[in-house]
Symmetry: C2
Subunit: 255 residues, 2 copies
């Protein structure tokens, strides 16, 4: 029995998120089914990030155990031949039998949120960005972002449906890049609460629009109350871009 780790990219448009649920097809479910077909086993993968409906990923991570004779590093190619075009395995490798994608000591997740800021929407970006026609003050949003970085109780930026044990998280980086009509929020940290990135971006957009001053974001953090923050922006702008496990070599199986 081997534990195999997959790095998975997907366009979340057509899916009800990552995690198997009764109301519609999910990314996890599609991969489980194709892995079953390939290995002849009944496989349930364990994912690192249970992304929401419509959210995308360039590198989500999942593991499964299998007695398959397919070499672990060839599993990506074998699976890609069976998967639909909107799900791509970009890497497959064997890991230690106790390696778990959610319970490693040191995890850094990075998300990007894409905004199209123009007078009219760009139809080529409608499934991968949030369209905003109003003027945004990028300098003020960057100033406000400074109050988000660091270790804080992020209860103000957490959907009330959470079942997290603690709402304390550490944000290591929050940058805002502007290139023509494209504005990209890039945020890294040791973990994110339910809807946290989308509520942070919704709050910063209110700063950019002039509804909040940058300093008010400090107060919003301190309020520890979801009602203090801005709206949750829609899912299609969000992409999970990287999960860094800061691995030392002892955690990897030599290929």
């Amino acid at each position: 029995m081997k534990r195999i780790r997959l790095t998975v990219a997907y366009d979340g448009t057509a899916y009800c998120g990552w995690q198997v649920q009764p109301n519609g097809i999910t990314i996890e479910e599609v991969i489980n089914r194709k892995l079953g077909g390939l290995t002849g086993e009944d496989i349930t993968i364990i994912g690192a990030s249970r992304t929401d409906s419509g959210v995308h990923a360039l590198a989500n991570v999942a593991v499964f155990d299998s007695d398959t004779t397919i070499p672990p590093d060839r599993m990506a190619i074998a699976l890609n031949q069976k998967l639909p075009d909107d799900i791509v395995i970009i890497k497959s490798e064997e890991v230690l039998p106790d390696w778990h994608p959610r319970y490693q000591k040191n995890i850094t997740k990075t998300y990007e949120y894409h905004v199209t800021n123009a007078p009219f929407p760009n139809p080529l970006k409608r499934l991968t960005s949030f369209f905003v026609s109003y003027h945004l003050d990028i300098g003020k949003m960057r100033e406000a972002a400074g109050y988000i970085v660091g270790e804080h109780d992020f209860a103000s930026f957490c959907n009330i449906r959470t079942n997290a044990l603690t709402t304390v998280r550490r944000v290591d980086e929050l940058s805002i890049r502007q290139e023509g009509e494209d504005i990209t929020f890039r945020i890294s940290g040791n973990g994110f609460l339910y809807n946290m990135v989308r509520i942070i971006v919704g709050t910063l957009l209110r700063v950019g629009r002039g509804f909040y001053t940058p300093e008010q974001v400090k107060e919003i953090v301190e309020a520890r109350n979801r009602k203090a923050a801005g709206v949750t922006v829609p899912p299609q702008g969000l992409v999970l871009v990287e999960i860094d496990y800061h691995e030392d070599e002892t955690q990897k199986i030599e290929q």
Copy 2:
């Protein structure tokens, strides 16, 4: 009766191209139908570029004549409320009654062709770029592009289904930009033959891969024979980005 000009952006994925045809739904057809609903008239728009199935546009141009009471510059907003999300009117304005989008004296069209060059496809770019996993020599492709620029008989780069009167065209610019996994070919000229941009890109990719030397592209141009050139790359990488009419003010109606 007024002549109204529309500037139209669209994601071509779901359409059988611009022009009305019996086998499937087209962009022209959708706009005609929505304009009919708005104005109560039977309207047929005339487009500047009859883009192929799956090809996108940021700024195609079309005109129609109408007795509508909707102010020409408000037509964009009125139409966008009726159009599906993958077609957006980014501008509407009145033009002179004899202004025709294909028969102006001085027209420069600009297309971009997007390639994703990486070991695995990026599912978020699958509908807007052509995925290529092999190594590309950008310097050699740029060298070869020099033989395309200028006024030439482009018969080698024209689908045999053309009904063009002449295959002579002028290419003003052909640049190749690389940013990470994204390679963008940008080409401007006074007009393009059927499939011309996609055959030029297919030929340059063969140079990048080492199948042709840059100098051979000079011979391919001189051959004036479609069989001499590379394959037609797929439509989803192609975007019509601009049509410049180099207008003087006499051709515009003052708003």
